[in-house]
């Protein structure tokens, strides 16, 4: 009984901290409809700031708290709202996810840059450490009491703010229609900034309260966000009382699992379970709760990247393979490994092109699927084509199994479900004895195909290049065919597809399976390249980085995927070469994603525009200056050839032209 009571106390404490974080999340979401995945990361950074002020610089605790909670955190919140996320509330979900994931990555970058990992462990002492309270056999720390009391105050305060004051009413109104609010005379911007200031401050508060217990670490505190989501989801991201209930329930559940796990037979195999409770909870809530109906008319100026013809892509593919073969013949093995890694990541990016670029579903678990592929390849131990095919098929089946329960989910909820899945794989499956156990590396053998051995590093990289080209061709073929049209139609309007009688369910499962299969191939190839491979390659954080880089280089084209894959390989290399700037590089990538994330075509989009720009702007100038040169400027009517160059499906363009015509007609009257 005493044990039960003390587990309950611990559970209530954790739940209270979750509740504080979750209510901040609800506040920002219900005011600006920006779902801040970086909520936990913000709390993490401010826990570090608090440590820095109170421990390293020795400021009094109260002063540090005031500085962090009432000055820095609110200002950061306003900065995020004003500078990083304006207009995101009405943007497609993919865009707002990319931007907030970028903030998360940037926050981790800032933390690792300013407070690099070192041997001297940092710790925040509990409040009033040592003054224990004895309550009928149960020992309660002041920290626990303080947290529970504060969470009650926060809940009450937010309720009064949102339900009883005019500015709170305006907060709830602005989520429906911020433009209308300003027609009413309300300051929509001020209201949103206020909500973000409070929300960020609450994230910081939760981080500071939890840090003494779970430790001052980059990733653990960042994952606080999953718990906060799980709680907030119970309240459908809007109801504060339900959020509170969810947070408390989650805290208690986690505490009981930790406490009673050893009584269950076979508990030694479930060592990762306690850490997974929030993710499981989130997954369950997402799958079980009724979902919001489809949102209609979400298409907003998505300009498709050009899709090359099969002939043209074949030429490029052959060129790429030849290039790799020529390069690989004269390279040192370490360089070859890098090239191979870049190719594997490019293939992984292609899985994102299919799922996110064409399908419009954001997945935060790419590396989890790659990990499954690697594990399958190592465990099957068939170093030939069969092994690779098995890796693809089994990963595809896993992808389908994940897709089936989340069939009803769209956008944000789906992305969250994949994040939860990624974390589950990370902590439950990869650490289990069926996979890597505790970071035990697995051994993979390089395959031989049709009696041809790819054992040597250079040969193997050649094989990978061929695989990359094959996958790219398959992706292009899908995009150009009937399936591709269905994909784009589904991305643009699910409701419209429904009215056309398109059965999207199995199509979606197939899409997930296909994308997972590609990711599985990438993982298997990576395992073969590295020969020994450990679970640290497949941590969920890498999936977030991958999404960032996909956003920077563009997720709608093969070119973007290949360049992005190379970049993904280079980032850790650069970080180990220049360890002093390791954190800063994350920040740079994140800033790039924030800037470029609004256009899913990324940097590649601008690259594709260069030839058109040369033809449109440079040629006429040159032709003027040197009349002898035979340069033809791009003609206005779009020929078949031009169709492939990036002629954006630009409504503005067409409208403008027709507009000119009408005004001419009017003038001629």
């Amino acid at each position: 009984m005493t044990a039960f009571l003390s587990y309950t106390v611990i559970g209530l404490f954790t739940g209270a901290a979750y509740a504080i974080a979750a209510s901040g999340l609800v506040l920002t979401y219900s005011t600006t409809r920006v779902f801040n995945i970086a909520h936990g990361a913000v709390g993490m950074v401010f826990a570090f700031v608090y440590w820095d002020l109170s421990q390293r610089q020795g400021l009094p605790v109260w002063l540090s708290l005031v500085l962090v909670l009432l000055v820095m955190a609110p200002l950061t919140g306003v900065f995020i709202q004003r500078v990083l996320t304006p207009g995101l509330g009405t943007a497609p979900v993919g865009v707002s996810l990319v931007v907030t994931v970028a903030i998360l990555v940037g926050m981790i970058g800032i933390a690792t840059q300013i407070w690099p990992e070192n041997s001297a462990a940092r710790s925040i002492p509990q409040f009033f450490q040592g003054d224990l309270i004895h309550l009928g056999g149960v020992i309660v720390t002041p920290q626990q009491v303080i947290t529970i009391v504060i969470s009650a105050i926060v809940a009450g305060g937010l309720y009064v703010l949102l339900a009883r004051t005019r500015v709170g009413t305006a907060m709830r109104a602005s989520v429906d229609n911020a433009e209308l609010l300003s027609l009413y005379g309300g300051r929509a911007n001020v209201v949103a900034a206020l909500a973000w200031a409070i929300g960020t401050s609450l994230a910081a508060l939760a981080g500071i309260l939890l840090a003494p217990i779970i430790g001052l670490q980059y990733y653990d505190l960042t994952l606080l966000v999953i718990s906060a989501y799980a709680a907030a989801m119970l309240g459908k991201l809007t109801s504060l009382p339900m959020t509170y209930v969810g947070a408390m329930g989650l805290g208690l559940a986690q505490s009981y699992v930790v406490g009673y796990l050893q009584d269950i037979p076979g508990h030694d195999k479930l060592g990762g379970l306690p850490a997974c409770v929030p993710a499981l909870f989130l997954f369950a809530i997402l799958v079980l709760l009724p979902q919001a109906p489809l949102r209609i008319g979400q298409v907003k100026g998505i300009i498709s990247a050009p899709v090359p013809t099969i002939k043209r892509s074949l030429v490029f593919g052959v060129l790429l393979v030849v290039g790799v073969i020529v390069m690989a013949s004269g390279m040192a093995d370490s360089t070859l490994t890098n090239v191979g890694t870049a190719i594997a990541y490019s293939i992984l990016m292609l899985s994102l092109v299919l799922l996110t670029g064409y399908g419009g579903f954001v997945s935060l678990a790419s590396f989890a699927f790659a990990g499954v592929g690697a594990v399958v390849y190592c465990k099957v131990d068939q170093p030939n084509l069969l092994g690779l095919i098995l890796a693809i098929v089994i990963t595809a089946i896993v992808g389908a199994i994940v897709a089936i329960p989340v069939l009803r989910l769209t956008g944000l909820y789906l992305a969250l479900a994949t994040l939860a899945f990624g974390q589950l794989m990370d902590q439950l499956f990869f650490t289990s004895q069926w996979a890597f156990q505790f970071d035990n590396p697995l051994t993979a053998h390089r395959p031989s195909i049709f009696g041809f051995s790819f054992g040597r590093e250079g040969r193997y990289v050649d094989l990978m290049a061929v695989m990359l080209v094959l996958v790219a061709l398959v992706v292009i073929a899908i995009r150009r065919g009937r399936l591709g049209r269905m994909l784009i139609a589904m991305r643009d309007s699910q409701a419209a597809c429904g009215t056309l009688g398109l059965d999207q369910r199995w199509f979606r499962v197939g899409l997930f399976a296909g994308s997972a299969g590609i990711a599985g191939l990438s993982g298997a190839l990576l395992a073969g390249l590295r020969v020994t491979i450990s679970s640290s390659t497949f941590i969920y954080f890498n999936s977030l980085i991958l999404l960032m880089i996909a956003a920077v280089w563009g997720v709608t084209s093969i070119t973007g995927a290949v360049i992005g894959g190379a970049f993904m390989m280079y980032l850790p290399v650069a970080q180990s070469n220049y360890p002093t700037y390791a954190g800063l590089m994350f920040v740079v990538v994140a800033v790039g994603a924030v800037i470029l994330g609004r256009n899913p075509n990324g940097l590649t989009y601008w690259m594709f525009r260069v030839p058109g720009w040369i033809q449109d702007s440079l040629y006429p100038v040159l032709a003027d200056r040197y009349p002898g040169l035979a340069l033809k400027a791009r003609a206005f009517e779009v020929s078949g050839e031009e169709d492939e160059a990036l002629v954006p499906v630009d409504a503005a363009d067409a409208g403008h032209n027709s507009g000119e015509v009408t005004s001419d007609v009017v003038a001629s009257r």
Partner: protein, 235 residues
Amino acid sequence: MSVPILEVIDLHAAYGRIEVLRGVDLRVPKGAVVALLGPNGAGKSTLLKVISGQMEQTSGDIHLGGVHVTGAKPDDLARLGLTTIPEGRSVFPNLTIEENLLLMSYAGVPAERVFETAYSYFPRLHERRFQLAGTLSGGEQQMLAMARALTSDPALLLLDELSMGLAPLIVDELYETVARIAQSGVSILVVEQFARTALRVSDYAAVMTGGRVVATGEPDEIGSIMADVILGGAA
């Protein structure tokens, strides 16, 4: 002649590269009701968006009560006495009626007086004051939207397509309210596709097509040439 409450001079505005307004000239005299008519896509709603500050013009000038207001924010204009009721149901569906009314006090009238005026005009709103606005019928929602015009004591009222999606009987009721507001001396610019209803309550009328005002005059005059203007006979 006194300074008009609203004067629009050679106004141009565009969505991206699509030019929608191509030199609009329009005057609303103080205390008058002006009906702005025209077919779909003529730029009527865009004109209201630019006047209310939701959209920026590419060139041209807007004077409100003789003051040049280019670049003013919609919330500032709302606090200065410009009330805009945009197209569609301009209420917050997830707030109760009372909360909707509470927000109307941002325009400068104390909340108590907003409640009092709104409930005395529309007793039905008082009965349902704790009901979510989204659960009201279309006509009741538009009533709630009109309550803002009544309570915020505007200098100029912009009304966009009051009739949208409503039964003719309810539209007539709404325009009776408009007439009542007009009698209290408020200047009104009404945008409407259904010309006859709007012409009945207006003092002047203007017709827009293709991003320009192509005809202005007395309601009778405009009523008789409407068909020609819209179908392209005159211009």
